[in-house]
């Protein structure tokens, strides 16, 4: 058998990541430099009409996304070196940013289990381009 790929959305001209299904549409992230660029976004592709819309801007290089069973959206903020929660009211809350007193490296991808625990990977990445001001640890 062969796979048939179909272009759903894009191209967007920069790196994409974090695809996650919200029940009706596909959310995914777009990364740009610098970290404070508006083009760090979560986009939403709606297969019912083929349209891609902005879901959230200024995501500070959020890469991986994940929903909990209760529908809460979490993200791995690469530039912010932390996990965040994208609240339904449009605000964004900082979650875990340290372990054992040290800042995370570069949280990248996450998944939420049935007990609402977040599992994430934290590769070392390149910390040199972390946005000013950087902290020594």
């Amino acid at each position: 058998m062969s796979w048939n790929f179909e272009l759903a959305a894009g191209p967007f001209g920069s790196s994409l990541d974090g695809p996650v299904w919200d029940g009706e549409a596909l959310l995914f992230t777009r990364q740009a430099l610098p970290a404070n660029s508006v083009n760090n976004r979560i986009l939403r592709y709606d297969p019912s009409n083929g349209e891609t819309t902005d879901f959230r801007s200024w995501t500070n290089q959020t890469i991986g996304l994940g929903f909990s069973r209760s529908g809460t959206l979490y993200g791995c903020q690469w530039a912010g070196r932390r996990l965040v929660r994208f609240n339904r009211d449009g605000t964004t809350s900082a979650l875990s940013h340290k372990i054992g007193g040290l800042y995370h490296n570069r949280p990248k991808e996450l998944v939420v289990d049935s007990q609402e625990r977040i599992w994430f990977c934290d590769p070392h990445g390149d910390l040199r381009d972390a946005i000013y001001p950087q902290i020594s640890d």
Partner: protein, 300 residues
């Protein structure tokens, strides 16, 4: 030598044998120093250490406020009240003389502002502040909301009486340090990302116009445009690569003060206003200079 002259005029400001002395140390990431002229003490903040500090000559340091919502720039109004760029708290607030806190600004046209960074008070009492977004991108930020809403990073004027916010400039990448010329006919605003100082004419209504490039700060060494002040002659001091850069009012680069650590901000203080206090990451350094700075807060 801890300073380097690019023009003979520089030695009128900094003597060749001037040195850095530690005033206070043991902090994480300090910023926002201001000298209270009337009562002779220094205020600064430790952003990451979440504390506002005070230093009195001969007495040493003490805590003014902790936690401080990761406060950043500070200044005094003409009543001697500390006015604070609230950064992680995403507001501008005032520490009243009774110790209570009054929020002066948090939204512009219904949207939450970014992360107020540096702040000055004009002689007429109006408050001017820069509002870049870096506070919400900072690693370790612990504010309540990391979401940016304004689609610009602005310079604002805040009327302390009716709390009206007026947007003065919305086209800089990262507006940060700001200060008036001694006669307040000019305002200087620097851009951390784009490494330059812009100068504006200040109108009779306090708004800014005719923005043009005053100086660029490119070079090696750690540091970038951040804290900025003028002395009574109108010379402009600005953090940059390697330390604090000094320009004459025409924008000519006179010299460099090579700070022992990366300097993010400084103030000109001391009883005769001839001591610069440098906020350098972990330590407040001081150095004597020959030309006085400007009085901040009440003169007497």
């Amino acid at each position: 030598m801890v300073s380097e002259a690019f023009s003979p005029d520089f030695r009128r400001i900094i003597s060749v044998d001037a040195t850095f002395e530690k005033a206070a140390t043991g902090f994480i990431f300090i910023e926002g120093p201001v000298w209270n002229y009337r009562d002779s003490y220094l205020i600064w903040v430790d952003i990451i250490g979440d504390t506002i500090w005070k230093w009195v000559p001969g007495q040493g340091k003490s805590i003014v406020m902790r936690p401080s919502a990761h406060a950043n720039g500070t200044t005094f109004d003409h009543q001697g009240r500390l006015v604070v760029a609230g950064w992680s708290n995403r507001n501008v607030w005032r520490l009243e003389l009774d110790g209570s806190v009054t929020t002066l600004a948090s939204h512009y046209q219904g949207k939450k502002i970014n992360t107020p960074n540096d702040i000055v008070v004009k002689s007429d009492g109006n408050i001017y502040f820069t509002d870049p977004s870096n506070g919400m991108h900072l690693v370790g930020h612990q504010g309540a909301d990391l979401q940016k809403y304004l689609d610009f990073e602005g310079v604002f004027k805040l009327d302390p009486d009716d709390l009206t916010l007026t947007l003065l400039c919305d086209d800089m990448t990262f507006p940060n340090g700001l200060c008036f010329s001694p006669d307040e006919s000019l305002m200087y605003v620097n851009d951390t990302t784009d490494h330059y100082i812009r100068v504006f004419d200040v109108g009779v209504d306090g708004t800014l116009s005719n923005g043009r490039r005053f100086a660029e700060l490119h070079g090696s060494g750690p540091g970038h445009p951040d804290g900025m002040k003028v002395d009574i002659e109108g010379n402009v001091y600005c953090t940059g690569p390697g330390g604090v850069w000094v320009f004459n009012p025409q924008g000519n680069h006179l010299g460099l003060m090579k700070t022992p650590e990366q300097c993010h901000n400084f103030t000109i203080g001391g009883e005769d206003l001839k001591t610069i206090f440098f906020a350098c990451r972990t330590t407040v350094y001081r150095m004597g200079v020959n030309i006085p700075g400007l009085v901040v807060g009440p003169a007497a």
